[in-house]
Symmetry: C2
Subunit: 557 residues, 2 copies
Amino acid sequence: MKLDLLNKHQDAINTAVKAIHERTFFAHYPENPSPEIYGENADKEGREKYKAHLNSKFDELLQKDPEQWVGQEESPYEQQALNVKYPFFSPETLVNRAEEAYHQWRKVKPADRAALLVESLERVKTRFFEVAYATMHTTGQAYMMSFQASGPHAADRALEAIAAGFEEQTRFPEATEWEKPMGKYNLKLNKTWKAVPKGVALVIGCSTFPTWNSVPGMYASLVTGNPVIVKPHPKAVLPIAIFVAEVQKVLEENGLNPNICQLAVDADDRLITKDLAEHPKVKLIDYTGGTEFGNYVEGLKGKTVFTEKTGVNSIILDSVEDLDKVAQNLAFSVSLYSGQMCTAPQNFFIPERGIKVGGEQVPFDDVVKKLTDAVTGLVNNPKAAPHILGAIQNPATAERVKSASSVKGKEVLSTCDFDHPMFANARTCTPVVYEVDASEKESYSRELFGPIMLIIKTKDTDQSIELAKEMAMEYGAISCGAYTTNSEVKEKIMDEMSLAGTPVSFNLTGGIYVNQNASFSDFHVTGGNPAGNASFTNPEFVIKRFTWVGFREPALG
Amino acid sequence: MKLDLLNKHQDAINTAVKAIHERTFFAHYPENPSPEIYGENADKEGREKYKAHLNSKFDELLQKDPEQWVGQEESPYEQQALNVKYPFFSPETLVNRAEEAYHQWRKVKPADRAALLVESLERVKTRFFEVAYATMHTTGQAYMMSFQASGPHAADRALEAIAAGFEEQTRFPEATEWEKPMGKYNLKLNKTWKAVPKGVALVIGCSTFPTWNSVPGMYASLVTGNPVIVKPHPKAVLPIAIFVAEVQKVLEENGLNPNICQLAVDADDRLITKDLAEHPKVKLIDYTGGTEFGNYVEGLKGKTVFTEKTGVNSIILDSVEDLDKVAQNLAFSVSLYSGQMCTAPQNFFIPERGIKVGGEQVPFDDVVKKLTDAVTGLVNNPKAAPHILGAIQNPATAERVKSASSVKGKEVLSTCDFDHPMFANARTCTPVVYEVDASEKESYSRELFGPIMLIIKTKDTDQSIELAKEMAMEYGAISCGAYTTNSEVKEKIMDEMSLAGTPVSFNLTGGIYVNQNASFSDFHVTGGNPAGNASFTNPEFVIKRFTWVGFREPALG
């Protein structure tokens, strides 16, 4: 490499490896968008840079000879096209270029790859605000989430994947002398091993978290020596395009082929994801999105696939100390980014006899009222609501919330549009709450993406646990919240949900929510239920991207 | 546990973990069947114990209420039934018992599981000779291989799997406090993680290596908390039955359900493998055997599968120092256990212009003659041949060797029966050698199991490499041998075969052969080509057997 990037970043990589194993709090990229950290004008400049992309060609990529310029993004806040144009390449061109780049990239040592990739993140760091505005106006996330999720949190998840990949590829010696005592003599072999990357990788992104969900797979494949084709959702390209552009620049500056990491964008009249996914040279696929397409990807032959699909997340209410605090916490969880998070809770299981609150039994209806009141309080707070709810990415989501007619239950809180103080045209809706009987399984046994809260009346907590477990095992779950002051119930929930491969957050109140998931500590998606087979970032997420191959030869003398 | 097994075996486990990472020579179980190591009467007693099983019920297992007693084994040395009878259980009974045992076993800590399993290997160690005779008379392996492969080598591969599983399950903390600075206050969460085993595991064995190929998966699933159903090939049950019996005894002695590890044997009129494999409660499958059944197993939905199927192993001859030594080495490799090894070479690629020998060009025909002469010399040596070739496990293999009519080439050495000095009825045959043109791809692009050697005449070494790589990528390969004195050619072979996921042994002569594969050093099957997706024992071989699930709760105070 031209630049001495390994020296520059080795400490950061080592610290990240250590953090993965300690799993205490660690962040390399500060989540606070404050001027002290990111500079006085960072926000303003970021916004201006974002605006400069509008109605323009995104011409930073180093991919040559585009066939046309395409783009379909529109802002959920303005309900208007961004009109950013990206270069379009046919799947065959993308795969051929990736295959060519593969034979250069696979020969770069894992430590050098890791350093180059960290350098790219450091470059993106200078553009976090630009990425934030790009994220707001593609996903509808509020400003703070756009900044944190797409900037520092995504970069930390990328760093986590780089560190894990670096560690796994260096866990076995590159070379050793194997000497076996044979009685009269010793048999000596020189042995070497290579971590051989599997080949062309494809990363298929989603519309709601265009960087956070895509960079782990992208960086995991890259650090393990595989060239990557990043195929974002056509409605959320710009945030990840900035990551790809920075990777390409770092590669080219270091004498490497920028096609090691390519951006692939659908043309308006040609969706290219299936062509890419089915291409025999594509060996690795990371996918985030709906279950139907995810199952198709998982079913492709001859590919190593990592998926995050959808799930049905549960909250189990058994007993609490302070119901108001719990209700506020849950109202926030269901409202955050209008429920458009894979970790957002949907099914709230409450026993028909109600729950114990500080030792006293509170009836079911009163618990429901507390919850709906908390949601109402939140959405009616004009200073807080817009910054929590954000906007609705997809018109179909707004439609689903407004007409959840397939839910057989009682609507106990209606949804409504709310006026966004900054964006008069924003596509918004507040959470709708239904009360459903446990017997109406069909109503709650699928993901209803968006701010839809189902309160399910169960016989008792045992049934709540049983149903939460069943939902997770049958339909997948990425998160679970449970409230209990009883240690036996807690133990049972842990045991049962562990069998359903679902992490559980207990008794959250205050400023921490079931939706949140911390790099270097929380495994995101366990891989243990139908919500997906990937996990950010357990060792499996990186080691399946390469193969250990050994070589041996008699030692001379 | 009643016995303090963890103290007893922790050192052995730690040493094994260290060995996995150093990958220098390491063996916990001595491979030399000498009286000094195993005791003066060990061999004699082992033989007697083996003989005591004949015409009897194998009644050591702790599995209750068999439905019938079954057994189909016969000795390739005597071509006569062993008439050992094993308890038969229906798949439903086996799975239900495993499922029940699962909920006990998964709660035993990884370190305790590892210690219990090492204890079982220590018990088997006292029965290595008994296992050896059982292996001889089911597989047809010669005595020394029977002892080494089924005894110490298998036990070491089991120990390797135990150590890898122990390490992977303890790589992340059981608990930690996560404390995030939030400006005015710190957010504190107590976090815990569980490595959750996936569920009932099935191990499907083969007829030629009944323990060596089965114990890695069996012990890998057990150490990660999964109950195991061991389903051997109906013709090779006794060797692995002894392992299972010892595991069961250790479990019961320690107050655990012996059904954590069950033996499943086909009835004479009822094959149960598919019923077991397809059972929805069976989550993990380890398979060794033919490709067709292996592909079926890999195609089963909702299972985590580890396979070792068949492959087409190549020898690339480019240039050598001493052709006699090379020919002797290769003659041994092709004759060892009459080619019935998954690592045995089959396709020998030689350029039409011949090869360089000590700097001089030796014509193709002369190289072929050296090789066939070496084979002839070996099989005509009555003191060596029986101990190398052993007997033929399956009559179909002998048939294939004697009538390899589908090979379009010239038979340059015929096969013949040879008289075994100890077993007059032994099913034997010596290697057959064909010369085939590189254009006759159909003839050499599939595994011809048994002592069949195809010498393929190529244009040059580049074509040899290209074909060896193509065979490995298309049809799988588990080993590759290459002979070259040219460092550029060596580099090219390493690079090309690494892309085909095939380990390469260079320039082997003397007492080390391409067929051999050492625990704690050589990864067996890389998982990188169609020969199988498993590898003994890389981290992937154990971590796919469990799921990391996390739990978190606000820390008080």
